[in-house]
């Protein structure tokens, strides 16, 4: 299982801030995970549309090619806007 967290606009479009999902065995990277999630239909497809999303794996900023694994905490959010 992986723990998914959503923030800001993504959270609103998902209708929830967190969920747990099984990680399919062929999903090994951040990019593959996003593709997998978008393929699950709504609300994922609409909430994760576009290419401006950022991902953190276990609370560290991640890039598309970074690995994801079972038990990870994976957060998906729009570009940050603090300060």
């Amino acid at each position: 299982m992986i723990r998914l967290l959503f923030f800001a606009r993504v959270r609103e479009r998902m209708g929830q801030g967190r969920m747990e999902l099984p990680l399919p065995p062929d999903v090994a990277t951040v990019a593959a995970l996003l593709t997998h999630l978008r393929g699950l239909g709504e609300p994922f497809a609409a909430a994760l549309a576009g290419d401006h999303l950022q991902v953190a794996v276990n609370q560290v900023h991640a890039r598309a090619a970074d690995p994801v694994g079972d038990g990870d905490e994976i957060a998906i959010f729009p570009p940050v806007s603090g300060g």
């Binding site: 967290l5 923030f7 800001a8 606009r9 401006h52 953190a56 609370q59 560290v60 900023h61 991640a62 890039r63 957060a75 959010f77 729009p78 570009p79 940050v80 806007s81 603090g82 300060g83």
Partner: protein, 352 residues
């Protein structure tokens, strides 16, 4: 010090708390971000912001930024307070305080922290409009560029990249050492070392680096500012003896620098020619300084004795060769920093 809270903060109280028991602080710079009035569309105005964040990650990202700033600028203390929740027009959003021995480090560190906070810390703003609607704030267009100016932290999960394979300067960089201490002043507190406006040039010698990837030069620049030196020139050259000689002559005779720190080109390799170039343009050697540098290096790694750096005077300009690795350069700097004003006073005819 990092805090995320809903309540307001007091600039006065936060500053006093940060400066308590820090007699070495001579300059403090504060940045306060506030909610400003903003015309959202032709018929709506922003009346408030709502901020949310990612608890846990926000604190760890801010801690990485703080660690990097402390190491890079040699400041004494930093504080970051960021509010979340609903904030009305005019209310405080964020406070950054940087306290250092000298103003330059405080200004730089404060700006470094807010520039990186804007692009890395996991906060999100929503604008509440007077029409009752709300909308999420997009990433600020200039913020990525502002942060990338610092050439640090960008897109990395850690605060400092380990030495790259191009960082060829051999001498004292055992890669397993934690890099976080780079740029701090270890051997002497900043209160003891005061260059008080010495005019400094930093010259990096490397066949493989450019100024955007010059970590030892960056570290020396931070240290120079932290002790109150004025950075007048920064340069990088390939390991070419004639070019090094010409630059040393120009910086000493035309720019009248008090001190030129070189980093790199001090090893035994065929392209390591910095000591030769330095000797060729200087008259009086100051062998004790380079002996001290090697002795300090030996406390950390035996290969420190393989650095052939010299220290010497051209007129009233002191040239000190430091190793090319960031760790070697900063350790060497620390080893002799307190003696440099002393040398220069004597050069100008002053006594001990």
């Amino acid at each position: 010090m990092i805090r995320i809270q809903e309540a307001d903060f007091s600039l006065q109280e936060e500053t006093e708390a940060l400066l308590a028991d820090r007699p070495g602080v001579g300059g403090t710079v504060c940045f306060v971000g506030t909610v400003r009035e903003w015309v959202a569309t032709s018929d709506s105005r922003v009346v408030a912001l709502e901020l949310e964040h990612y608890p846990g990650m926000t604190e760890s990202e801010l801690a990485k930024i703080e660690t990097a700033a402390l190491a890079r600028f040699g400041v004494e203390a930093l504080a970051v307070v960021h509010r979340v929740g609903r904030l009305a027009l005019g209310e405080n959003i964020v406070l950054v305080i940087a306290a250092a021995a000298h103003r330059a480090a405080a200004f730089d560190a404060c700006r470094f922290v807010i520039d990186h906070l804007k692009v890395r810390a996991t906060f999100w703003k929503r604008e509440i409009l007077d029409t009752g609607e709300s909308r999420w704030v997009d990433a600020c267009p200039g913020c990525e560029a502002a942060a990338s100016r610092w050439e640090d932290l960008r897109g990395e999960g850690h605060t400092h990249a380990p030495p790259s394979p191009h960082d060829h300067d051999h001498d004292h960089a055992p890669p397993h050492h934690p890099p976080a201490a780079h740029g701090t002043i270890r051997a002497h507190g900043p209160g003891k070392v005061d260059w008080n406006g010495l005019r400094v040039g930093i010259l990096t010698l490397s066949d493989s680096r450019d100024l955007s990837r010059d970590k030892s030069g960056d570290a020396l620049e931070g240290l120079t500012r932290a002790v109150g030196g004025i950075l007048v020139q920064r340069g990088i050259l390939p390991d070419d003896e004639a070019a090094i000689r010409e630059t040393l002559i120009l910086w000493a005779d035309e720019l009248r620098l008090d001190l030129i720190l070189t980093t790199g080109g001090t090893g035994p390799g065929p392209r390591d020619l910095t000591p030769e170039a330095t000797r060729a343009v200087c008259v009086k050697e100051m062998p004790g300084l380079s002996e001290l540098i090697r002795r300090e290096g030996l406390n950390h790694v035996r290969s420190a004795v393989l650095t052939r750096g010299v220290a010497a005077l051209r007129g009233t300009t002191l040239v000190v060769n430091l190793p090319g690795s960031t760790r070697g350069a900063t350790q060497s700097f620390d080893a002799v920093a307190d003696l440099i004003p002393h040398v220069l006073r004597m050069v100008h005819g002053g006594g001990h």
